[in-house]
Symmetry: C4
Subunit: 259 residues, 4 copies
């Protein structure tokens, strides 16, 4: 007989967070984003936060491997400023085989500071290479414009209703320095969120990227679009093509827009 | 009970357009062509045009997600010159979850101006990189010759019966500049179609490619062949090998051709 | 009721040539070897030669799409020197939907001149790039040594019993120039076979590669090993590492070999 | 009726070594690690050592294709110093279709000298390219630091309890020279194990890599993490970014670590 804890992750619905996280992570594994148990994903479903555990083979993860955290109870205990301390976290489900993910406080930042519904963390080689290229140039911000896929990003978190970025807009993703302990990234992630109120993603130098969204679909779509842009950016670098350019808009005689 | 609208996309036949579009798009997703909900595909089946909606995860798309447009009724309303305006489009099926694809007028151009049966739009990184390499050289035409895969293209749309391009022929694909609004590409796509009456594809700078065909198989085959050529072209560039070359035909003493 | 022709390709055995060719080609499609209906494969089973047709989507091919040719009857009609002319070929099964593959005479050369059981033709981008790199150097032979995967090749066709190449051996693959008509490659392929009696593969400039073997497993294994070497060779070129090197053998104090 | 030998590889449990080796190898094939029958894997289950045979297509391997060796009986016969000679090996299961893997003595070294439970051997192109880049620099050690994925490695074999490497630690993987006969690598592998008591992996120049672990999961995870690092290292080389760097730790005002 299943316990109450187990029932939290038992559902026939493929859209249930406990089924979605494993299916997403299996897909991400084939893309090279969560190799060697790296990376992870988390979904918030009302008061519950579902989180992939630490050290699990992401393409083999099962619903029963997931942690579930109570967000209201955790916030009640936290009752303060700064990142949510491990001691404040209230788990309503803790699989005995695993340990909680070191990404947990970073996922919680996306949920509490941005009202996100889903947060994805990848170790994508393209993301890491972009942070290395930027490091050589002494930069802490990835900027790219005039690539169609930029439209895959919402314009800004606080005003999601204003729609997505346009082709000529510059996508800006902050880069934070990596820390020895992953959870210690939280403070810097939150600083970057404050400094870039529009951003849906933060790159971590020599580590990977955190991407979130107002829905699982948006988080996944933005994560895919971003990885696509990182991939193209690395190739552009090899071909000595700059990431930013000044392109004059092309306008037809009779625009169909809005007709 | 299914409505009439639903019946348009319900079939057990895997070759039915409503089943083909999702299976094609799932395949294209694995190739990196339609990542982050980018790209799309459309099939014309007599009077009906089936179109993947905007913003759908292409590898998860279902038949029920598709729009279906009546081509004769749309043309009746259009009743004029230039791209078909959104207000002229007559949908016989509109899934409530989604919005119509911005690619719709471009797909319609392929169907009405070229009599195509299928049109595919990808954001393939290889295609985008080729347009960037050409941009650096100030060019608006991709040209490649003396690569076997060129034979994967029909010789020219108006005279499909003349067969495919030969090994020594030069494949020419026009590049149009990207516009802020995807539907505004239509005017330029049609101009390129007029200027290149033979072309089965148009590259869009910093965006991707549109490829069509007289059948789903031809459109898909040409799209695959083109992406293969773009991939090789990018690698050739890295290896400083020119895309065009002047190669003297090699002829055997006794040709088997036509025997 | 199935006809005699159909029975040739109907079997529940996954190792039957009519089932193996589609499963191999579906796998090759995922590797990018037979994209856009390019490439192909053929298996000889005693007197019958099974051949993928022209213009088929290789990942979707079915047993019923295959041609079957009678080798003894074809040779009886041929009754002469040089490549087997199309008019000499005797098909015992011809699917009406398709046309015979242009690769047919090349596959037959592998079967008749080398006693091969299986011949694979790919348009692998790695193979094409290697021929382009060699062309720039004015060379018509691919040579590589001191890479472990070279051991994946049999030492020489006439003396298969002597085993595979060693680590320090140099693998030599001739490159023939491409012809406008694929079947016209046959004469040059046979010349290369004569000149390189040991070779199990021939590269075709700007086109791809033909690889054969005494069994399906050997042909597939050698094709995979060769593509791996081509892939590494292209990367070595980008890193300015030569394909051939003079390396002194490393020998342990007490060899385990043969003990 | 199955023989005793067959029963050793018959189990419904997907975690049984006889099922795990084929499923792992099929996965590795899709990653390009065991192409062309190259590479292999072995699992120790108490007294039994399960080994993929020589010359098998790794993605098609079945449980029934596996060799099973008795470790205690083999060690009894060995009764001496240095690598375990082929004549000392006691097989409790020998499939007649195949020959024992040349990797056998190397796998046994990992099991006897390191107490490993699983050892994986790949011909990964990334691994080979890294050994070639190091060769050009006259080096026999791969060193990389300040990349998050380094945390995917245990700190050292003798003291597994001390946990994994940290972000700022330098991962060091020895490179041994390749030998004409794979089994002759054993002496050099064991030398490298002695010289690098912490290492969980040894690179073989122009050949590939051996990776092991205290469990199947650890061996697989470390193999994936290592290949990821090799892949990034090759790209870093192309972008002229050094593999080692001197980075000052970033520390937050209030570390969450250990709270």
């Amino acid at each position: 007989m299943s316990t109450n804890e187990d029932r939290l992750v038992q559902s026939d619905d493929p859209e249930h967070p406990a089924n979605l996280i494993p299916s997403l992570c299996a897909k991400f594994w084939t893309l090279g984003w969560v190799t060697g148990t790296g990376g992870g994903a988390s979904i918030r479903d009302d008061d519950h936060v579902y989180i992939a555990p630490s050290g699990v083979q992401k393409e083999l993860m099962k619903a029963e491997d997931l942690y579930v955290l109570s967000l209201p109870e955790t916030l009640k205990r936290h009752n303060g400023e700064g990142p949510i301390r491990p001691s404040s976290r209230v788990y309503v489900r803790s699989p005995s085989r695993f340990k909680p993910s070191q990404c947990t406080p970073l996922f919680l930042s996306a949920f509490t500071r941005r009202g996100a519904r889903c947060c994805i963390h990848t170790h994508s080689p393209h993301a890491v290479l972009v942070t290395l290229i930027l490091e050589q140039a002494g930069e802490s911000e990835f900027r790219i414009n005039n690539i169609e896929q930029i439209k895959g990003f919402a314009r800004g978190y606080p005003h999601a209703e204003v729609g997505n970025l346009g082709y000529h807009d510059t996508l800006r993703i902050p880069v934070i320095e990596n820390t020895a302990h992953e959870e210690d990234l939280t403070e810097f992630l939150e600083e970057a969120m404050d400094k870039y109120p529009d951003a849906y993603a933060v790159l971590v130098r020599r580590h990977g990227v955190y991407v979130w969204g107002n829905s699982v679909e948006q988080a996944k779509g933005q994560c895919e679009s971003l990885d696509y842009l990182f991939q193209i950016a690395v190739e552009m670098r090899k071909l000595a093509i700059p990431w930013e350019s000044d392109i004059k808009p092309t306008v037809p005689k009779n625009s169909l827009k809005g007709q």
